[in-house]
Structures are given as C-alpha cells and as structure tokens.
C-alpha cells in the first residue's frame, strides 16, 4: 500500500512536469501542423536563464523563475515570427530538419553562454522543507509542482472555454482556413499560442530541474519524452496531453520502483504498443 502511494505521489509530480512542458507542443502541433523538435529548447532556455539569475544575479527563486519564463516568451515570439512562420508551409521532413537545426543552434548558444556542465537551480529553503503526509515525508517542492500543475490545467481550461481568445483558438485548431476566412487573425493566434506554450515549457523546465536536470543537451535528451506525451495524448488536445503525461509519469515511476533497470525499456515498449493499436492517441481524431 505504501508503495502504491509513493508511486502515485512521485508519478503525479513527474507527470505534471511532463504536462507543463509538453502541452504547448501539443497545441502548436495541433494548430500549426508543425513537427517541432525544438520545443524542449524552451524548457532549457527557462532553466538556463533561471540558473543564471539565481547564481550570478543573486535573485530569489520565485523572482528568477518569473523573469526566466518572461525571458523565454520574449525569445519565442520573434522566433515564431521570423523562423517558424516560414516552417509551417514546409513538408514534414523539412520541418523535422529545420527544427533539428534550430535545436542545435539553441544548444550551441547555451553551451557558449553557460558551458556544457549541469545548470543547477537551487531551491529556496521554504521549498526544501518536508511536509508530513502521514505515509511519507514529501518535500514542499514536489507539492508545489503538483499544485502548479493543477493550476496550469485549470487556467488553460478557463482560457479555452471561458475567454474570447479561447473561442478563436479552438476555431483555428478545428479549421484554420475557415477561421481565417471568417476574419480571425490567425497570425496573432499562432504567435500568442506559441509564446504561451514556450512560457509553460520554461516553467516546467525550471520546476522540473530536479527530475529532468538542466544542461545544454537537455532538448535532445528529453525530446522523445515530450513527443511521446503529445503523440499519446493526441495532437492539439490539452486534456489528452494531461492524461498522457500523468499516465507516462505513473508508468515510468512505477517501473522505476519495481524494476529500476528496465524502467525506460518497459515505458517505451508500452508506448510503442499503445500507439500501434491507437495511432491517433487518446483524444486525437482519426485522420
């Protein structure tokens, strides 16, 4: 029983991180139909900026994290405008290649700026404290991750279902051409969505630095992990990404507890088998 609870808590925290990083990828892929392999780069940017602000600038954790997310958004917007907008029209393979090239450039930039060693993000003492859950001690940081993850999904739900932007975004995901013909400025929606996704990835990167350590090669190392969440959840589905992220978080954590040597192999094999039977993912529409 204790084991199950442990798996549940750790798996959910891990899943929340995956969700925050991957949800932007899912929405942009569903909206712009672009295969974006560089998305992990935004999580890396967030983590790297936060590391630099804390270590070199002496800023407190929360301030540094907020600035890092804003900084990543500020980088993502012109990037979308200048490079991604051209990529949307490409074939699948060209998109893959262009975003790999972009990933290499992001890695090279971070490597040039901060070196290729581990970029630690020290947590404030308030987050390092343990909270007694009855069956185990849990750091406040894990709790924060779970709470922030819940807030993100609630916020996204409110944004999509309760605001005008949400209506426009859903219209654009459903049918880009019709939405554009009805006078919706899809260009602005693309940029706003892309920036939001990048910002969430940065947040996930910073909060998840304990589980997915930040260094220059981060985007390559975890590329498949983020893509798996998107593919299993179904392109463009926020709820799908959420379920998929939690499922992967729980499966991988369970495997790590029970068969630590086989965790990655088990997870990937299950993913392959799942996608073989349901290629469009949990919430995806059959093409």
């Amino acid at each position: 029983m204790n084991l199950l609870l442990n798996i549940a808590v750790d798996g959910i925290a891990y899943g929340m991180i995956l969700f925050m990083i991957a949800v932007g990828l899912s929405v942009t892929m569903g909206l712009m139909r672009v295969v974006n392999l560089a998305h992990g780069g935004f999580a890396l940017m967030g983590g790297a900026i936060a590391h630099w602000l804390i270590e070199k600038g002496g800023l407190p954790f929360v301030g540094a994290a907020a600035l890092a997310v804003l900084g990543t958004v500020a980088i993502a917007m012109p990037l979308e405008r200048v490079i991604y907008r051209k990529i949307y029209g490409f074939g699948e393979l060209q998109q893959v290649l262009a975003t790999i090239g972009l990933t290499f450039l992001i890695i090279a930039t971070i490597d040039f700026w901060l070196g290729s060693s581990l970029l630690g993000i020290p947590l404030p003492e308030t987050l390092q404290r343990s909270v007694d859950l009855g069956f185990r001690q849990l750091t406040a940081h894990r709790m924060t991750v779970i709470v922030v993850g819940c807030l993100v999904i609630l916020g996204l739900w409110a944004l999509l279902e309760r605001t005008r932007f949400g209506i426009l975004l859903r219209a654009a995901v459903d049918n880009r051409d019709t939405a554009s013909a009805l006078g919706i400025n899809t260009g602005h929606i693309y940029m706003a969505t892309f920036a939001l996704g990048a910002g969430l990835a940065a947040l996930g990167g910073i909060l998840g630095a304990e589980l997915l350590p930040i260094d220059a090669y981060y985007p390559l190392r975890y590329m498949v992990l983020f893509l798996i969440v998107v593919a299993i959840g179904g392109l463009g589905s926020i709820l799908g990404s959420f379920i998929a992220a939690l499922a992967i978080g729980l499966v991988e954590t369970a495997a790590r507890y029970v068969l630590p040597d086989m965790a990655t192999i088990i997870t990937y094999t299950l993913v392959i088998l799942f996608l073989a039977t349901r290629p469009q993912g949990i919430m995806g529409r059959a093409s």
């Binding site: 290649l97 498949v224 893509l227």
Partner: protein
C-alpha cells in the same frame, strides 16, 4: 542513362583514389566517410525511395555494430562473416520493429523510430556483462580480409575495405532502385492511395524497404565495429540518425549519388568546424541545416538545374 551512371561511378572511384593520395594522414576520417555513406544510402532507400520518415536509422546501425562486434569476439573474426551478421541483425531489428512502426505515419512514426533507437541504447547500456555498457564493447580483432590483407595501424586496408563495401552497397542499391520493386517504392512514396487502388500492399512494400534499409544500416554498423575495433553506445544515438538525415537532405533524396555527395560535404564541414573550434562547431552545423532547408530544399544535386533555370529567367527555379 547507362553512360551517365557509369560516369558517375567512375567519378566517385576516381575521387576515392585521389583522396587516398591527397590526404594520406586523414585515412581514418576518410574511412569514416565511407561508413557514413553506407548509412546514408540505407536511409535514402527507406526515406528517399519509400518515403518512410525516420529519425531512428541508428537503431539498425547500432544493432549491426554490436552483433558484428560480439560475433567477432566470441565466434569468428572473419570480416565478411561479420558484415553478414551485422546485416542480419539490422534487418531483424527492422523487421520486428517495422511490423509495428510501418502501420503509423507522420509524427507518430518519427517519434517511434527515435524510441526504438533509444530502447536499443538502453538495452546495450544495461547488459553491461555482454556489451560493456557505457564503456563500450572492446577487444574486437577482425582477422585478415580474405586471409590476405591484415588491418594495419595506418588504416590503408581499412580504407580500401570500406571503399569496396560502400561501392558494393551503392551498386546493389542502384540495381534495386531500377528494379520493378524500386519503382513500386517510388509509387508508394508518391501516392500510397493509388498504389493501394491498383492492388499493391503499401504496408508490405514499406516493410520490405524498411528491412532492406535496416540490413544495409547493419552493414554500416558492422563495418564501423571492425574498423574502429570498438562499439560504443553512441552507435544508437539520436545525433547519428539526425546527422544521417541532414546529409541525405543536403545531398538530395531519391538519388544515390546525392546521398554520397551530401555525406562528403557534411562530414568535411563537420570535421573542419570541429577541428577549428571544438566548442562551438554546433553553431556551424545548425546554421548549415537551416541554410539547406531554407535555401536548398532539393539538396546539392539540384543546384546545377536550379542555376540553369535561374539563368534562363525561369521564375520557378526552385521547384
């Protein structure tokens, strides 16, 4: 057509000969180019001909490398037997994974191909007693080629051995490319619906192409195991798959000499950039990739045609 393909083959053999005498101190690097040419050719069959978007060709390369390495250590050190074992291992992995993978398309397919390579790396990493884990598989000592030529320290034998294997693969693929099967692959690539409508099993053709490509990638892996006498986890790496894809697109897909040309150009740029600045060469590679995608979408082989059309004032020079 015949004459042209003979002249292309002649030019390439001449280039191999010239490189041997011009850069006698870079034989290890030149041999590496031949190995990569074989890997990129295998990708050209899978992606350029059959249109299967994959970022995991390294999976079969790694399988071939480990299989050939283990075979040489434990069973028989004959190089050609090693190549056969590598090819069988690559083809077997492609067959097992392809049965599942070839049912998917698009992003899912790309992602699953990466996942297969990562599973391969993970298995090689965990089975430390057999594969050497993160230290790599050591102690591969291939015996004399045909019982005559020993692998020497400078790499002269390795160079001509790799050159011969690359030439063999190139010839094999040009025969396959012109065969009815090769043409049907092009059909599957260009319009799977129509091929299905005229009674071709698209899944079966894609699977066969994937298995053949896997076998050839396995040969490349086996060759690298024999020549470097070491197999590391890097053989399964995503970077290797991605670089092979970059080389193929750089040269131009669907044409075998494009694959060879792209490999030579990319490897040379990579080598020079890494030698000049070991820390920042990734900038050069990233920049190169974006340049190719934005400015040369059909690859280097299309450059003369584009320039010719451009000079005639045709506005559709890039199509």
């Amino acid at each position: 057509m015949k004459l042209r393909s003979y002249s292309v083959a002649g030019v390439m053999l001449f280039a191999a000969l010239a490189a041997f005498f011009l850069f006698p101190y870079n034989l290890a690097f030149l041999t590496r180019i031949f190995i990569m040419i074989i890997l990129v050719l295998s990708l050209d069959l899978v992606l350029g001909y059959a249109g299967i978007a994959t970022l995991g060709q390294a999976a079969m390369y790694g399988a071939g490398a480990y299989a050939a390495g283990l075979f040489a250590i434990h069973v028989w050190a004959d190089p050609f037997a090693g190549l056969v074992v590598g090819a069988v291992a690559g083809a077997a992995l492609a067959a097992v994974s392809g049965v599942v993978l070839m049912r998917t398309t698009g992003l899912t397919l790309i992602m699953l191909t990466i996942a297969v390579a990562q599973i391969g790396a993970e298995i090689a990493n965990r089975m430390r007693e057999i594969t050497g884990g993160a230290d790599g598989l050591r102690g591969i000592r291939p015996s004399k080629i045909l019982g005559i030529w020993d692998f020497d320290f400078i790499g002269v034998t390795g160079y001509w051995y790799a050159c011969a294997v690359a030439a063999f693969v190139f010839g094999l693929l040009s025969v396959i490319g012109r065969s009815p099967f090769g043409l049907s692959l092009r059909g599957v690539h260009e319009s799977p619906e129509r091929m299905e409508a005229i009674g071709v099993s698209v899944f079966q053709r894609r699977l066969i192409a994937y298995v053949m490509g896997g076998g050839i990638a396995g040969i490349a892996g086996a060759l690298s195991a024999q020549i470097t006498q070491l197999v590391s986890l890097e053989t399964f790496s995503f970077t290797l798959s991605a670089e092979a894809l970059i080389m193929l697109i750089l040269g131009g897909t669907g044409r075998l000499y494009g694959a060879a040309l792209g490999t030579v150009v990319f490897m040379t740029v990579h080598h020079l950039a890494a030698a000049n600045d070991p820390f920042n060469w990734l900038f050069v590679i990233g920049g190169l990739v974006l340049t190719v995608v934005f400015a040369l979408p059909s690859g280097l082989v299309a450059l003369p045609t584009s320039l010719k059309r451009l000079s005639k004032g045709d506005r559709h020079a890039r199509s």
